[in-house]
Symmetry: C2
Subunit: 317 residues, 2 copies
């Protein structure tokens, strides 16, 4: 099959072996996949991953022990738990210490004609969601994770820091709560996607006033958390989405004195993400910067790294 | 009146002017006061405070607009809000941006014959609590703050890091929830205070296994938070009580990946602290290392700094 692989560098193959599903897995033909910042980080050595990257996809089930799945269009949760540890037993497979992660940790991913995933990871996509939008379900679920972790009320003052792909998804998701929100970023063109949906934005830095009930750090930058600490109110919450190799100085004494709550946030629930796309309460179409064929995968990655680019998709099947 | 003052250094006076209460304040004759680590930090320059330090006390109301308070034995909350800001209006005077703090920020404190505090800051002490124990109500309230911030269940695995004064109070408070708790410290004599109350302790470092649902950093040391991150389970909570000038490296990516919640914790509610002493569900007596007269205040501070010393009290009235 066709596949992009990473080991030291990224390579394109047209004769990579089709993966063989294990007993509880389905074989999925990938139709479309998205390049995530994590993929870009993987190419820089993140997680020490080698193999086929890619974890945002939409595809068709070709083989499955559950016959009802065959021929269905699906997306897939990316964490594969061991199934027997206390985390897996209590439904927290995302935190299984023995987990593998599609295209990120010990499991070949979506930048190929085929992938395999446990049937329990799959979610059937309604016909009304095209493949190109369905690819966003995984990152959109990560945005919805915030709603699982913090109750957001219409009278909450919320600030989303960052106008990258995840920031734009988070802003749309949090706006569903009708909270008083502002999104701070550095790219007028990206912020304008939100402005068109009636979401308040602000280019450039905020005045350092402690006024926000909830601040989301989706900057992906080393300075994001420091900024968040400076603008959140006493007893307020900071949701941290950013993982970075080097973080700027954060005054953690402020966390104690102001009794702040810091909440780390990673993968999230698929069902609300699917529903939001189905009901068009979130629009991902303006986030697609360009679509490449899988054969152009190396070029697609180079394009992703360009300034101002949002989501780059690979059209595979 | 007699008073200890701090400016550059600590001085003892026997002719310091008695403070004049403002309209909503009571004049309180101090009977007993406790030296807190914060006082020791103030002598090193913390908060840039100058004046009379001391914020843990028990005393008798001598003057008060509310006649019913006169002659009553009281303790006092230390944060004095402006009364008009949104924090004060919503009962969060501890976080008033314009607050003064008894013996810590813009307000003379308890190491003197007299202090003044707003009547609304005062709590009457039941007769069954002696002055020496009542002095612990303020730090004990800070321990109870944890119970306000995190629900602790009997099946929660909890680790308290630190066997200083606050750690010993926190351990006793959290043990009331009947959770599965262990207290980790470096002083066998301090830990033995808890052992005698049936609380599990462990001297020295824990194995770095991610097994605790809740970890409290009461180490007062730069390495406490790093240790907490290494032993808390995914989706677990870390309560941070420690403020330090220099903190060790903390891997905040772990907070994101493991979706940890970090909660800063400072001052707390007085009523449960008073109740716990009244019902003897917490015992502070073994924490008293030595009692000095106020005239011996400078010596008392020197004694506080000695290795192995817990609470040092000043007997004033």
């Amino acid at each position: 099959m066709r596949a992009l692989t990473f080991k030291d560098g990224l390579s394109y193959h047209d004769d990579y072996p089709v993966p063989v599903p294990s007993a509880n897995e389905a074989l999925i033909r990938v139709r479309c996949a998205g390049i995530c910042n994590t993929d870009v980080e993987i190419l820089k050595g993140y997680m020490g991953f080698s193999g086929i990257p890619g974890h945002e996809f939409a595809g068709i089930v070709e083989e499955s022990p559950d016959q009802g799945l065959i021929g269905r269009r699906v997306v897939g949760e990316i964490n594969i738990g061991c199934g027997v540890c206390p985390y897996c037993q209590s439904g927290l497979k995302n935190h299984c210490p023995n987990r593998s992660v599609l295209g990120i940790l010990n499991k070949n991913g979506a930048f190929a004609d085929y992938l395999t995933l446990p049937m329990s990871n799959l979610h059937i996509i309604p016909d009304s969601i095209p493949d190109e939008a369905a690819v966003f379900i995984e990152p959109l679920a990560a945005a919805f994770e915030i709603m699982e972790q913090a109750a957001i009320r219409p009278d909450d003052k919320v600030c989303v820091l960052g106008d990258g792909k995840l920031g734009l998804l988070i802003a749309q998701v949090l706006s569903l709560s009708r909270c008083e929100m502002i999104v701070v970023g550095r790219h007028r063109d990206k912020l304008s996607i939100l402005e068109k949906r009636g979401i308040r934005t602000m280019p450039g830095p905020l005045p350092q006033e402690k006024i926000f009930d909830i601040v989301v750090d989706a900057t992906g930058s080393s300075a994001g958390l420091e900024t968040a600490v400076n603008i959140v109110r006493p007893r307020g919450k900071i949701i941290i989405k950013t993982t970075v190799a080097e973080r700027g100085a954060v005054d953690l004494n402020r966390v104690v004195i102001d009794e702040l709550t810091l909440i780390g946030s990673r993968c999230g629930p698929f069902p609300p993400a699917i529903k939001a796309l189905e009901t068009k309460s979130v629009d991902v179409t303006p986030l697609i910067s360009k679509v490449f064929a899988i054969e152009e995968g190396i070029e697609a990655f180079q394009y992703t790294d360009r300034k101002g680019v949002l989501k780059v998709l690979l059209k595979i099947g």
